[in-house]
């Protein structure tokens, strides 16, 4: 509760500071709108459904692409960790593609798939996939050999060994890879939505882009706030609990 109050006070302070700067008329109100007008925009966009619609479209792209990325990335990472031949080939390729900023996939995706949902999914998958592959590979290779030996003597082998021993033992690495993949996917999706009008649906990035075209600064800032909030929620609702579970079990990091 105390932590919540201090956070609330901090953000409240920020908004007040913003309002004071606006009242000081240092900059043109076109460039720096008041927090009230941003709130008004958000309220209006929420009321007429554009905001909900755009958020839904963006989140759908992100989640579907992200899940596909993990579904392919995890087994691929396990395979590259298991066979050195795959590590030298697929693993090296993954490492190379992971260093490629995922927004670089946008031109290719547009040429291949056109201004469609498939192009957006492709960009998100590419943002997620390689990070998950690399993290899974690293995680599996860092599993202490003694775990494997102990499991073998207890009769674990093949699929059981991989699913019940090696995969959970690699979990701290895999989760940090998933988090990185999420960050890459989220950034590249936003970039794609801002720069290209996707005909199959307007996402948050498009709203941001239209805000600029109409010189509607309250829309630009309002959408940016929404994007920040989504990022925060993803961390607090999805990743934080997993990370805290890992810290508690492994005894790593500072528990809160």
């Amino acid at each position: 509760m105390k932590r919540f109050l201090s956070a609330a006070a901090f953000f409240g302070g920020l908004v007040i500071l913003w309002q004071l700067l606006y009242d000081a008329h240092i900059w043109s109100p076109v460039l720096v709108p008041s927090p009230v007008s941003v709130a008004d925009y958000l309220r209006g966009a929420a009321a007429d459904g554009t905001l909900g619609q755009a958020t839904l479209i963006t989140m759908r792209r992100l989640l579907i692409g992200y899940v596909i990325g993990i579904i392919f990335g995890l087994p691929l990472g396990l395979l590259t960790a298991r066979w050195n031949i795959l590590r030298d080939t697929v693993g090296t390729m993954s490492l190379g593609l992971q260093t490629l900023p995922s927004v670089c996939w946008v031109p290719l995706a547009l040429l291949w798939f056109g201004q469609t949902e498939a192009a957006m999914l492709f960009v998100v998958v590419m943002g997620t996939l390689w990070s998950v592959v690399i993290a899974t590979d690293t995680g599996v290779r860092n599993v202490p050999p003694i775990f494997r030996r102990a499991a073998l003597t207890m009769g674990s082998k093949n699929m059981h060994l991989w699913l019940k021993v090696i995969l959970p033992a690699a979990l701290p690495f895999i989760v940090s890879g998933m988090k990185q993949g999420w960050a890459f996917a989220w950034r590249s999706l936003m970039a794609a939505e801002i720069f290209v009008t996707i005909l199959t649906g307007f996402g948050l990035g498009q709203l941001l882009h239209f805000g600029r075209e109409q010189q509607a600064m309250e829309q630009v800032i309002g959408i940016m706030v929404i994007i920040v909030v989504i990022g925060l929620l993803a961390d607090k609702i999805f990743f934080s609990p997993i990370e805290q579970f890992l810290h508690r079990r492994w005894g790593t990091g500072a528990s809160q």
Binding site: I146, S156, H160, G251
Partner: protein
């Protein structure tokens, strides 16, 4: 005071869990002319040279030697974790080709799985054992946690346990699937003296109560004399069994007893003898 009886079984246990706990399946081991060498940066090391050894049902055998004499390699071969270059290991009349739960290993590190709690770790091997219901598995796991005195910690995380408690959990985990043979690779080496002494008591009690066959590797001569029916002395380069001592002391044995010290110093003398001889060869 030494306790010889097993902790009484609860009335809540199902009949098949009782049955599982009452099945006592001792085994004998036969190691026939096993050799094993390793390639290292400086050349080939003959870890084991035609080692033969018989362990009878319910026997407690200790393998003693300086580090690097091949005793752990022999244990790994008996476990099926490593393959010998030549020779054969028979467990209960069948050749050993792979690891299996009838020969469970306890390592120097507890090697407990950090993603599971204490109970989850003890259940791990049991879950792989067919023919049991989950309720039975739970009963059996709880029984062994009680046996090692850790019932209160069944939902603790592994990192919250002390070194001695971790080894106790590892012992419960190794015992839970009711293996015929227990292979122990310096399981107490990293523990403090007081905890070790408690565990010497525990292991003798459990060995007797559950009628296990135990092969125990150690470099601690006193520990070997305290635990073993027989103590086999290994010499390094190449690894061979050099000498055999039969310890004829009543059980339970106290590690600090005078008679035990006598055995220990005899074993120590022999150990020093051929370690010195080895030094002379090197010069």
């Amino acid at each position: 005071m030494y306790i010889t009886h097993v902790i009484p079984w609860h009335s809540r246990a199902t009949s098949s869990a009782k049955e599982e706990l009452e099945v006592i399946t001792p085994s004998k081991l036969a190691i026939e002319s096993v050799s094993k060498s390793f390639k290292t940066a400086t050349g080939t090391v003959q870890a084991l040279d035609r080692v033969s050894l018989k362990v009878s049902e319910g026997e407690f055998v200790c393998l003693v030697g300086a580090s690097g004499c091949g005793k752990s390699t022999l244990l790994n071969i008996i476990a099926g974790l490593e393959k010998p270059d030549s020779g054969l290991v028979m467990a209960n009349g069948k050749p050993v080709t792979s690891p299996g739960r009838e020969r469970l290993v306890m390592f120097q590190e507890a090697a407990l799985f950090p993603w599971l709690d204490v109970l989850g770790n003890v259940l791990f091997g049991l879950r792989l054992k067919p023919g049991l219901r989950d309720k039975d598995r739970l009963d059996v796991a709880k029984y062994y946690l009680e046996l090692v005195g850790l019932t209160r910690f069944e939902h603790s995380n592994i990192h919250e346990l002390s070194g001695g408690m971790k080894q106790r959990v590892a012992l419960a985990r190794a015992l839970a699937p009711n293996p015929r043979v227990l292979l122990m690779d310096e399981p107490f080496a990293a523990l403090d003296a007081l905890t070790r002494e408690q565990l010497y008591g525990d292991i003798q009690r459990i060995w007797k109560a559950r009628n296990k066959t135990i092969v125990f590797v150690t470099h601690n001569v006193r520990e070997a004399a305290c635990l073993g029916d027989r103590v086999l002395l290994f010499s390094p380069h190449p690894g061979r069994i050099q000498e055999e001592f039969t310890i004829e002391l009543p059980r339970p044995r106290d590690i600090n007893s005078v008679d035990l010290a006598g055995y220990a110093s005899r074993i120590m003398r022999s150990l020093k003898g051929f370690t010195k001889a080895e030094g002379e060869v090197a010069e």
